[in-house]
Symmetry: C2
Subunit: 287 residues, 2 copies
C-alpha cells in the first residue's frame, strides 16, 4: 500500500502518540481519503461541481479523521464503521469551511493547489462548499443523534468564529477575544470530533468529557502552531502563502503577545510587525 | 393573534386545499416563524451575523413548512413537535440556499427587502448561509434518520441544480434539461419535505410514496409558476425584480416553449424575448 502523509504534523502525531496498531490506523486513514473521493465520482454531472468537490478532498492533513481514529483505537476500536462515517462527515465540514473561508480571504492557494474559487470561480466555490456540507449531513444521518448535535454545534461555532474574524478585521485584539475566536473557528470541530469518537467508542460520560477537553486543547494548540507558522513558516512546506494573517488585517496570537511584550512594536503597521518578529526574536522563544 | 400571510400563494393554498382545522394550521405556522427568529436572538454576538441570519427568516411565504403542516393534519396531526422541527430545518435550508443563490445571481432584493449580501456584504452572506445550514442539521439531529437522509439528499440536489444553472448560463436548454434542473433546484426539497411529513405522521410506505409524488409535482408546478411570474409578474407583489431569468442568461420554461412554438422568436436576444412574450401572447395561453 502506498501511503503518503501530506504533512509533517500527521507523521509527528503518529510518532509521538502511543499507537497500539499503527498499520490499522494507516489502513483506515487511507480508506477515509479514498471513500471521500468516491463520494464525487469523476465524470459525474454536474461535472464542474464534482471536479471542484474532489479538488481538495483527501489531499489535506486529515487531522480530524486521524484524531478520531487514534481516540477510537485507544478506547478499544469499537464501531469502526460509524467511526469512519464520523471521520468523513467531519472532514467534509472542515473542507467546506476552508473553501468558503478562502473566498472570503481571497486566498489563492490551499493544500499546495490553487484554491477552489481561484480555479473554478466564486460561484462554483460557494456551491461546492454547500454540497460538501449537505453530504456531511447525509453521512451523519445514521450516527448517534448526540454526535450529529455535537458536530452541528461545532459547525455553528465555525460560522460564528469566521464572523468574528470579519467583524474584528484591522482591530487590535486582546488574548481573551483571540481565544474566543480560535475556540469557535478551529478548536470546536476538533473538540467535537474527539468527543464524538469517544461516544461512538462506547465509553462513560466522564471519559467522553476528558477526551472533549483533550480535543479542545489540541485544537487551540493546533491554531497557535498555525499562527506561528504564518510568520516563520515556509510557503512550500505549508502549501499556502505565509504572512497572510497580517495581510488580512488579522492579529494572531504572535502579534498580540509581541505587542504586549515589546512596546516599541505596538505601532508597527502591516508587514513591518512580521519583520520585527522575524528579526528580533529567536526561534527558541517560540518553541 | 395577528397573522399575516406574506404571499397570495399561501392564502390560495389554504383556500383551495381541504383543511380540517384551519386555526390549528395557522397557529403552528405562526409558531414556526417565531421559533425560527428565536434561534438567532437580536443583540447576540456576533451581532452582524445574527442580525443577518434574522433578516430574511420567517419573512417569506414559508411554503415548505405550510405544506408539511397540511400533510401532517391531513394524516391525523401526529408528532407535532417533530413536524415543527422538520419545518424549521427545511425553512433554514431553503433560506440558506436563497442567500447563497442571491450572491451568485447578484440579486439586490429578496422577500421585499435588500438581499443579505447587498445589506451585509458577500462575506457575511456566505457565513450566514453556512450558519443556517448548520442550525438545520442541529435541529434535525433527533428526528428519524430517514428524514435526515431525505432532507440532506434534497440539499445535495439543490447544490447540483444551482451548479447546472451556472454551467448552462447563456445556453439554449431543451425541456428535458430544464426539468432536470428545476427538479433538483426547487422540487426536490418540497418533495422531501412532504415525504418526511408523511413519514413523521406515521403512515405506510405506500402512502409516503404517494405524498412524495404529490410534493414533487407541487414543486415543479411552483417553479413553473415562478417562471411565468418572472416575465409577466409585478415587482411589488413578488418582492423581487422581474425579468431576472433572461438578465442572468437563464432560459426558463416560458422562453423554451415560446422558442419551440414561435420560430420567429428563436433568435431574439436578451430582454427582447420577454417583450415578444408579453406583446404576442395572451394571459389565456398561460393559465
Amino acid at each position: 500500500m502506498v501511503f503518503t502523509l501530506s504533512s509533517n504534523i500527521t507523521e509527528e502525531l503518529l510518532n509521538i502518540i502511543q499507537v497500539d496498531d499503527r498499520d490499522q490506523i494507516i489502513e483506515n486513514y487511507t480508506l477515509i481519503g479514498k471513500k471521500l473521493n468516491e463520494l464525487f465520482p469523476t465524470g459525474s454531472e454536474p461535472k464542474n461541481l464534482y471536479t471542484a468537490a474532489n479538488h481538495l478532498l483527501g489531499r489535506g492533513k486529515m487531522l480530524r479523521p486521524l484524531l478520531i481514529l487514534l481516540v477510537n483505537q485507544n478506547l478499544g476500536s469499537k464501531n469502526i464503521n460509524k467511526i469512519i462515517k464520523l471521520s468523513m462527515a467531519v472532514e467534509l465540514l472542515h473542507t467546506a469551511s476552508v473553501i468558503h473561508d478562502d473566498i472570503i480571504d481571497e486566498a489563492d492557494y490551499r493544500r499546495g493547489l490553487p484554491s477552489i474559487h481561484k480555479k473554478f470561480g466564486n460561484e462554483t466555490a460557494i456551491v461546492t462548499g454547500d454540497l460538501l456540507i449537505s453530504m456531511a449531513i447525509k453521512i451523519t444521518s445514521d450516527l448517534d443523534p448526540l454526535t450529529i448535535r455535537w458536530v452541528s454545534e461545532a459547525a455553528i461555532n465555525m460560522s460564528e468564529g469566521e464572523s468574528f474574524e470579519i467583524e474584528y478585521k484591522n482591530q487590535d485584539l486582546n488574548t481573551e477575544m483571540y481565544y474566543n475566536i480560535i475556540k469557535k473557528k478551529t478548536a470546536s470541530l476538533i473538540e467535537s470530533s474527539v468527543a464524538s469518537s469517544a461516544l461512538l467508542s462506547g465509553v462513560s460520560n466522564k471519559l467522553i468529557d476528558s477526551f472533549r477537553t483533550y480535543g479542545l486543547n489540541v485544537g487551540l494548540g493546533f491554531q497557535i502552531r498555525d499562527d506561528i507558522l504564518d510568520i516563520i513558516g515556509k510557503e512550500q512546506t505549508l502549501g499556502k502563502p505565509v504572512g497572510n494573517d497580517i495581510k488580512l488585517g488579522r492579529h494572531n496570537i504572535v502579534h498580540i503577545l509581541t505587542k504586549q511584550t515589546y512596546p516599541e512594536s505596538r505601532n508597527l503597521p502591516g508587514q513591518k510587525i512580521n519583520n520585527y518578529i522575524i528579526n528580533n526574536t529567536t526561534r527558541r522563544e517560540f518553541y
